[in-house]
Amino acid sequence: MEDSAIVDLFFERSQQAVTEAADKYGKYCHSIAYNILGSYEDSEECVNDTYLKAWESIPPNRPAVLKTYLGKLTRNLALNRYEYLTAEKRGGGQTVLVIDELKQVLGEDGNPAYSFDGEPLRKVINDFLAGLKTEQRKIFMRRYWYLSSVKEIAREYGISESKVKMSLSRSRKALKKALEKEALNDG
């Protein structure tokens, strides 16, 4: 079924919308949640919550790309769940490693200079991504959006793990520079 037809079902408040969305994008959402949570059951619960959120938010929202809309919902829900689980000293997946890597962008205790968020932050990140070469951008997104493992990315692109790490390191430095520049402008 076409995405637009599925969205129409949401607008019609037909429960078939959830069935169709799950059939088409359930595995995609599950793989995102699993990368973050590292648990089959927790990921299943997270994906179920995604459908509920979609039900609650469509309408009024009419997503242009249903797949990424559901993907974003899943990612946010999984990260929230990860925080809950780690507060209980549980949980797994790639998240702890990714967070550790992002400390290199911000410094060990965060960066007080970066007080901007919302749309300004979104613009900085989008501009930063737009400035990367395609493969470098894909590798960055696989690691920090899909939270794929370095091993998986290396296998996917047919390159060595060290090359992936090198690419990520360069990207993090570039992001750090972009954030520093915005902080200066903001200040």
Partner: protein, 234 residues
Amino acid sequence: MMDEKMLLKALGDVDESFIEEADPSGSCGKSKKTAKILCAAAAAAVTVTAALLLQSGLISLGGRETVILQNGEEIVFSKGGDFSSFSLADSNVSVRELSSEECSKILNGLPFEGTARFSSEGEHEIFGIDGKINDVKISAWRTDDMYMDTVIVGSEKKSQVDGISVTAGYFESMPNSRGEVTVIYYASFKIGETSFYLENAGDKKDGESIREKLAEALSEIIEKGEPDFSAVKY
């Protein structure tokens, strides 16, 4: 003050074109070991008391587990390191629930329940079937038009069952918040022009029974031979 968790969340709100560009399901890497399978559709489980065909000899050495069939042949399941499935485009496919009569005919009398996938255009040719035999998910297809791309990472072991080459493996999830681990056993093989993918999953503590159920379904399908897709019309 921004911390790394805030940054990670902020990264989630980037332009959708970047998300799509890096979509794992849209990039079939050249170095991946892939097995293309049809998506197993949800179907009601059937409870059938079947004679136990198997005698299980559990051998668990170096991430391999073995089921020994009654005829002495064995299926070796190799442990995989990763398992991920992605939906491929399926806009040209129509799915229909199969009647019990059709189910019985298509898999030569086996207790199968499920659906069939047809081309939504032209002659409405049948692509394949998805369903279950005794909780074991079954997909069978004849064409290259797949709806799932399952990436299997890790060593695989081929076994021979009645002259059919069977590739089998299993995966274990990380423990959930209750400490439970899910184990997923799978097997793929081809009879004539028809490819099969079987999968059975559940709590690891029931692993032996889960593995045996899969081997039992596999053994029965191979014994019955190639399915008769002509028994189903759009």
